[in-house]
């Protein structure tokens, strides 16, 4: 039977979805501190899942020519160039005849590029100012204290630089709005606690697309259906590792039981903090967060929004009871108004 936390709060989602024989909840831990941006995950995913091409345009978003997670890209490697220090590393351009940084300006230009991803809504253009802020130094972000002492980057010359890379994927939320709002039951919770679109069921109503707080799921043009990462449901059933995690050369993408991954991630953050990377932070690991924790969570080196992630997502179903209540009140009001209209007047 549904849990008290069925709509919001910590929950083991598979039993809640009727799996009396649920398996251990499986997920991804993506450690961006060891990501080398090779995009093996993107390709391995496409090869296994027969995902179509997603456009041949140069986006100029550093080395990201995929742009976003779409129905035709279920893994997306983000690239962010920033004139900021990277952990304890020696500033790479110290002592060189450099002038001001260009990362922000180039990012602002790249905000306007487009790619025919073959999907809807695919990859809409962005806001140049927000793009600039993403790629700017700490002084732009107005986050004093985010940098180690003595590492301030003056506006006149750039000495520090870091290149963030991050393989994004469907979060397989504990409370998956896409799943909950799906009117056909196409999106469903598997015995592994993952969230999968059933391609034989989906009728392309598009509701899931608006419901996803991460902007993950997307509709394939021509095909009409919604597509996203299945966490390789077919491979999981066979006891195999999802294609992306298996391919990942540096174990940036780790696959396993979520409990184990969360422990591993906590240790990794601690190690990084010890090694002088105070900006290392987990994202989506907390079962108490707005979506009940993600089945695919991340170790990030900057604010989530820099990577295109919402800083504090909340599943829409949290407010569902209140919404229905309001709808009920409105319906009563409407009925009352109608009754009143007919019985109240004289003519």
């Amino acid at each position: 039977m549904p849990d008290a936390n069925s709509l919001y709060g910590p929950l083991d989602p598979a039993p809640d979805a009727g799996w009396t024989d649920a398996r251990a909840r499986m997920g991804f831990f993506t450690d961006t501190s060891v990501c080398i941006g090779c995009k093996a995950c993107e390709v391995a995913c496409k090869e296994w899942n027969d995902v179509p091409g997603s456009g041949l345009d140069l986006l100029g978003m550093s080395y990201d020519n995929t742009g976003a997670l779409t129905a035709n890209s279920w893994r997306h490697v983000a690239f962010v160039e920033q004139p900021r220090p990277a952990g304890h590393r020696t500033p790479p351009f110290a002592g060189l005849p450099t002038a001001a940084t260009v990362s922000a300006a180039s990012a602002a230009v790249a905000a306007g590029t487009a790619d025919d991803t073959g999907t809807d809504p695919g990859l809409p253009p962005g806001d140049p100012v927000a793009a600039a802020r993403m790629a700017a130094g700490p002084e732009f972000l107005g986050m004093p204290g985010a940098q180690p002492p003595g590492r301030a980057t003056g506006p006149a010359e750039r000495t520090d630089f870091r290149w963030l890379m991050m393989s994004d994927v469907c979060k397989h939320c504990t409370h998956a709005a896409c799943l909950d709002v799906c009117p056909t039951g196409s999106l469903f919770r598997t015995e592994f606690g993952t969230v999968v679109v059933q391609e034989d069921i989906c009728n392309g109503c598009g509701y899931c697309i608006s419901a996803c707080p991460y902007g993950v799921i997307d509709q394939r043009r021509g095909d009409g259906r919604a597509w996203k990462c299945t966490l390789c449901y077919d491979r999981l059933g066979a006891g195999q590792t999802p294609a992306c995690a298996q391919a990942c050369p540096t174990e940036s993408i780790q696959y396993g039981p979520l409990d184990e991954l969360r422990e591993r991630a906590a240790e990794r953050v601690a190690t990084l903090h010890e090694r002088g990377v105070p900006e290392a932070q987990l994202y989506g690991h907390d079962p108490a967060d707005g979506v009940g924790g993600d089945g695919a969570f991340f170790l990030l080196l900057d604010s989530p929004e820099v990577y295109g992630l919402p800083p504090d997502p909340v599943v829409t179903t949290r407010d569902l009871p209140a919404m229905w209540k309001r709808a009920g009140l409105a319906a009563l009001a409407m009925a009352a108004a109608a009754v009143a209209a007919f019985v109240g007047g004289s003519s």
Binding site: W48, S186, F188, G237, A247
Partner: protein
């Protein structure tokens, strides 16, 4: 399918009678999803191979069903790659099954502006004739001092770094025997 089975297969019925009243999991699962399995599990054969791109030598497993390559992925047993592949290695299936691959002989006649078709057997025969003609035309028996040269500088070859050792061996052996000296590959580049 009887009405009864139909009704029992209806997710709404399963919602009402099963453990998943909200229709999120077991009730919503389709028949296809329930029987889904990895295609590597049902492959007819698996070949243990090696990635064809760079020289690291990552192990690959090539899965074949009905005579077609259905998946190429890293070999977890490999002490070199531990089952991992880079984007190129991961794209190996697309490489070998690419619709752009040429599978027939193409022939361009001198001064032609388009390709023509040619039978493979004929092509090999024509090439053999041209080799013999080039040798005949450019053969050098001895140098000015009468020392042997045994060669032709009329034939060149470039390639080998993407080929197998056995192939390189035959190439070098045959070219050497025909006196073709100008055999090179990427190792020079």
């Amino acid at each position: 399918m009887g009405l009864r089975t139909f009704i029992q297969g209806w997710p709404v019925y399963r919602q009402l009678t099963g453990t998943d009243p909200l229709g999120r999991g077991t009730a919503a699962q389709s028949a296809r999803s329930a029987t889904l399995t990895a295609r590597t599990e049902t492959a007819d054969s698996v070949a243990r191979s090696v990635c064809p791109y760079c020289a690291v030598g990552c192990g690959q497993r090539v899965f074949v069903t009905d005579g077609r390559v259905t998946q190429i992925e890293g070999d977890p047993d490999s002490p070199i790659s531990r089952g991992r592949l880079c984007p190129k290695g991961s794209a190996s299936k697309s490489l070998v099954t690419s619709p752009l691959r040429q599978t027939t002989v193409r022939y361009r006649r001198p001064y032609a502006t388009e390709w023509e078709d040619l039978d493979l057997e004929t092509a090999v025969d024509m090439i053999a004739d041209r080799i013999l003609a080039a040798r005949e035309e450019t053969w050098e028996d001895v140098d000015d001092a009468g020392r042997p040269l045994n060669r032709t500088l009329g034939i060149s070859s470039l390639g080998g770094a993407t080929l197998d050792n056995e192939e390189n061996y035959l190439i070098k052996k045959l070219f050497t025997a025909m006196g073709a000296l100008q055999i090179e590959n990427q190792a020079r580049i």
